[in-house]
């Protein structure tokens, strides 16, 4: 297990390195010029030399390999350069926002699990029944309804119900958990519907698959209580693919809240992502993509390790 863990962790490094290189070169292809956007977009009177000087100051005129070199030597120190827009450290910009995205992702994961587990299990156990059909329709709906639209409807609902919206400016959950939750619960819900649908569907199909396995028949032939058959023999095996899906969705949320954050006006990395695309802030964008990919890779790592913990076949693999 230890060797496996170590090897699995070591594997992360080359993957991230490859991501870093890929991201750098892909983003250099992006047309557009941040200095132009910054200086001329709002109609200022600015000369070509001034634009040129600004580019030089920001290091945009360096040969691409020089930029690449700077970028690569910065990476191990966590130095992702400066945002071309704010000229702050990219790392600082991301760190200041990632907490919110993370909280939202965690909150919606919790919400999804709470909703998905009963739904998926009931649906599987009553396969083909009316309730199964209802749950299937609800969950298929969950992956069909655009989360931003669902969010808009939610905002309408909050306004109609409470007459006001949660205050702007995220309050830390440690300072004022009540306000924080009131702020975060709605976006979490708007993502949570989709999320829980994905999880519930996976859980349903895994349970169904597991229940048709030979060892379930063995357990039944042993005369074990049906409840134990399902929980001890079934769920644990069905959990494996479900854990993967939860993990992947979680990783997806880390970078994929782009739309939800936009709807609920949340200041997470998703919104920063859209902003940096609109502004052509390549340094920030590459930092963000790298962060998201790192998140993805790390979550995958955790899933793999969790898998190993849950599945002895992997744990004991030499």
């Amino acid at each position: 297990m230890l060797a496996y863990t170590l090897r699995r962790i070591l594997l992360v490094i080359p993957t991230l390195l490859a991501v870093a290189v890929l991201v750098f070169f892909v983003l250099r292809v992006v047309p557009g010029d941040i200095v132009e956007i910054k200086l001329a977009a709002e109609g200022g009177i600015i000369s070509a030399e001034e634009i040129q000087k600004e580019k030089e100051r920001l290091g945009l005129d360096d040969p691409i390999m020089v930029q690449f070199y700077k970028y690569m030597i910065g990476l191990p120190r966590g130095d992702l350069g400066i945002s071309l827009w704010t000229e702050n450290n990219v790392t600082d910009e991301i760190v200041s926002r990632i907490g919110l995205s993370l909280e939202l992702a965690i909150l919606s994961t919790i919400m999804a699990i709470i909703i998905a587990f009963p739904l998926g299990t009931i649906s599987a156990l009553y396969r083909g029944s009316f309730i199964d059909y209802v749950i299937r329709i609800i969950t298929i709906g969950g992956i069909a309804v655009p989360s931003f639209w669902f969010g808009m409807l939610l905002i309408m609902l909050i306004l109609a119900t409470f007459g006001n919206l949660p205050p702007l400016g995220t309050v830390s959950i440690f300072d004022d958990p009540k306000t924080n939750l009131y702020q975060m619960i709605w976006p979490a819900l708007s993502v949570g519907y989709r999320y829980s649908s994905v999880v519930a569907r996976m859980l349903r199909s895994s349970i169904l698959e597991v229940l048709s396995e030979d060892y379930i028949r063995t357990a039944r032939a042993k005369g074990v209580f049906e409840r134990i058959v399902i929980v001890k023999h079934g769920m644990r095996n069905a959990l494996l693919p479900t854990v993967t899906v939860i993990g992947l969705e979680f990783a997806f949320l880390l970078g994929g809240l782009v739309v939800t954050e936009s709807v609920f006006n949340l200041n997470g990395i998703g919104k920063l992502f859209v902003d940096s695309v609109v502004r052509n802030d390549m340094n920030l964008l590459q930092g963000l993509v790298l962060t998201v990919a790192t998140g993805f890779v790390l979550v995958n790592l955790i899933i793999d390790l969790l898998y190993a913990a849950l599945d002895p076949r992997i744990r004991y693999q030499k």
Binding site: R7, L10, L11, P14, T15, R127, G128, E213, D214, Y215, R217, T218, A219, R220, A221, K222, G223, V224, F225, E226, I228, K232, H233, R236, N237, L310, D311, P312, R313, Y316, Q317, K318
Partner: protein
Amino acid sequence: MTNSPLLDISNLQVEFKLKNGVVRAVDNVSFQVDRGEFLAIVGESGCGKSVTALSIMKLLPKRVAEIKSDYVKFDGQDLTNFSETEMRKIRGCRMSMIFQEPMTSLNPVLTIGDQLTEPLITHLEMNAEEATKRAVELLNMVGIPEPQKRLSQYPHQFSGGMRQRVMIAIGLACEPDLIIADEPTTALDVTIQAQILELLKDICSRMGVAVIMITHNLGVVAAYADKVNVMYAARIVEKGKASEIFASPSHPYTIGLLRSVPRMDKKRGGRLATIDGLPPNLMAPPSGCRFQPRCPMSTDACSEVPFLSNRKGSSKHSVACFYSEDALKKGSSIYVSDKEIFEPINVKKQAPLLSVRSLKQHFGVSFRSGWLSSISGTVKAVDDVSFDVYPGETVGLVGESGCGKTSVGRAILHLNLPTGGQLEFNSKDLNESSIALVRQDMQVIFQDPFSSLNPRMTIGEILEEPLKVHNIVTETDARFERVGQLLTKVGLYAYMRDRYPHELSGGQRQRVGIARALCMEPKLIICDEPVSALDVSVQAQIINLLEDLQRELGIAYLFIAHDLAVVKHISHKVIVMYLGKIMEIGDGETIYQEPKHPYTKALLDAAPIPDPKIERNRKKIILKGELPSPLNPPRGCVFSSRCNLATDDCKEIIPKLINFSKDQSVACIKVEEVN
């Protein structure tokens, strides 16, 4: 002990409600099992034998399966109306079950101990400590070494045979009255099969446990069963004492079944009796006697349903056939056709067609290929194998799984690139570049008829493709003609060219596979377990076809199989392999009559002969232990770890293949001493 039977089933009937209709999988089945009795239910796949077993335990999915019966009495209690809770108390406690697939029947994420103590804790209400103690005893009983340590291990750390031992231990945990074993050894190698069956028989007779064994292997029945139920198309067609059934089979189906199996104790060369046609589709079974369409004796009377009735003079032996006495009298002659002549196939032994010298096929085995993937071991699937195949000759290659027999075939075909050695075909050196030139002369037939044909192509397209691609027959009309001829030749009809593989039965597909191999008129066909996936009646048809083709076209076969009887039946020369090495090679008859290598002997002993008289009277050596991991084979003689005669020398010296006689070579340093 009361006199009443332990299990008494009357008119059991199981229907499956499927999306496209109702299937009656078990129809009016009645039988009894006494305490301590060993009952075998035999029949071909899909005849309802497993369903019968599962319906006794009420383990069929309730949504689709409907079980009806007059009664199912177990120890006097009628289980028909038992609730799930009541059934649960019986399952695993008084009646337990062993399944076919040891690899999937155990829960992969729970320890063996956990799974073994589960029935103890559930039914006998033992505490963890007691249960563990008992579990150790049980593992000991089923012959698992170091049981204490093994308890905390997981199923994937056990071999197939070991898992089946665990399953038996689980089944016996609560000392039940009845064990139902559903094809418990089908997935295992023959030497392991022998171990498991011996174990089961031994324990059950010691503990007085009755056994219902479901199997398709008549040899197994002959070796162990007290009573036999023969099932065909959801019904019992014949039942009675094993000795009676084997001695005087009275249903034409039973007769056919017994006669279509190649036998190791019979001489080579004759055609096998075959039952024509296929088992019926249970969705729309024939009315009356269900065997009628395939029965050579059928008359108009057979459109009535024949009920099981006792044979004259026997209260136990009953048959469901109007003409049972007649059938008994005529015996296998009812299946004999005009062609049934003993006609040896002649081999021209001038120059070998295929010459294999020191063939090596090694596989690097790597775990989880990743950025840092590394090869962690080498499997010597084939190690230093040499033999010749002459034109028109059949060479049988036999051995247990993992012995490298399939790898030999694949290496010859260059489906895997051989690691070392020389191959010569038709006096041409075979290598990566020259293989393309001889492809047409060297064809292959595969084991699994279901996956050996591209499901997206019609039979015609499959047979036509090589002719077209290689420009053998360029004209469309001529190709059409040719495909028709090929189909006729393998016993199919020309109109079948428009069918897709899934529209054909397994046997028919295997015929198409043979036709595909024939279409380029090859000199050698490598047959990789061509009949092992088929039911016995169909298996005989295919074997006959292969032999007829050889007589007609003079094709040589390299016949790879694990079934010793089949290999014996068809081969001129037999090669016995173990862990990548040849143990013994020689003339078929000689090897089977006078095996010299201890492994060959053990192999022959392990394979049961479908005749209780012979089977129960022969002396057997049952091999101990497991097949070693191919990653880490024993040093010296690879067989040394399981050989009863092995000495320290055997563990050091790699034995060479030595000519024992003109027709027989053996790789054993003790060969002189032993024989």
